[in-house]
Amino acid sequence: MEWLVLMIVIVMLLSAVAVLLMKNFIAALAALSVVSLGMSVLFVILRAPDVAMTEAAIGAGLSSLMFALALRRLGLWKD
């Protein structure tokens, strides 16, 4: 159990650093979604299925959608 959590945490922290360092904004948005996804798995491991569902729906769904819409309007949705 500890190794699973450790792997998920390492992936999450590396993706969080990648959010801030990547030049391409689409890649940064994808890394933010990876952080949200890892977060919802951690919430399930912490015995909180309600919160995991909310984080998955809002973090990986609605939040990324709002960022994508804003990026498109700002003209940053490109390579």
Binding site: D50, G61, L69, A70, G75
Partner: protein, 227 residues
Amino acid sequence: MRRITSALFLVGLAVLVAAVYQQMNLLVTPLAGDAINASAGQQVGAGNIVTAVVLAFRGFDTLLELTILFTAATVGGLVLGKPRADAPRDPDAGFILQAGADLFFPLLLVVGLYIILHGHLTPGGGFQGGVVLAAAFFIPVLARPGTTLDHHAVSLIEGLAGAAFILIGLLAMLGGEVFLTPLLDKGELGALFSAGTLPLLYLAVGLKVGAELAGLLAQLAATEATD
């Protein structure tokens, strides 16, 4: 110079957090949680104890959270303003997105309403189901950018649902109890019609959140970035 001070700030924050970790007792038993776990079944009648905490034990916090969402949606609408009528519109999306949007709309509606109505039995509830409903109403706008969401209907649903939440809370006061005490019969634990007014409260919350977020997304999608 700015980089050095920023790095120093972060080092100081890390030291502070390490010091807090030394002193803090994580994973220690707080006072209220076990008492709520033991008594929520009989007292509230909901199968999902987190729902009982959100709506029955801490219902006022949920009302304030709805206020925060309403404020955020209002600020979004005020700051972005109305798009001009002759603004250039995005072209229609391809066949896959249009067909997928037509297919997904009833499915998302059913899934969202299911999650909302079963909030007191299984993990779920108003907020999760409301987000799914918002997606259900926004995806057709994504597929065909020419069609705008009917903002009057969305605002009407949002206002009525919020008023319904407050009204159900006020009805408890008419009975002489505290604001937002759960009313109605508790029913049998685990049945769909149980836990008094909790499903109705979550239905109001779900409709309000769904309408609000759909309106906000439509506003973000329709705005223009440059004058």
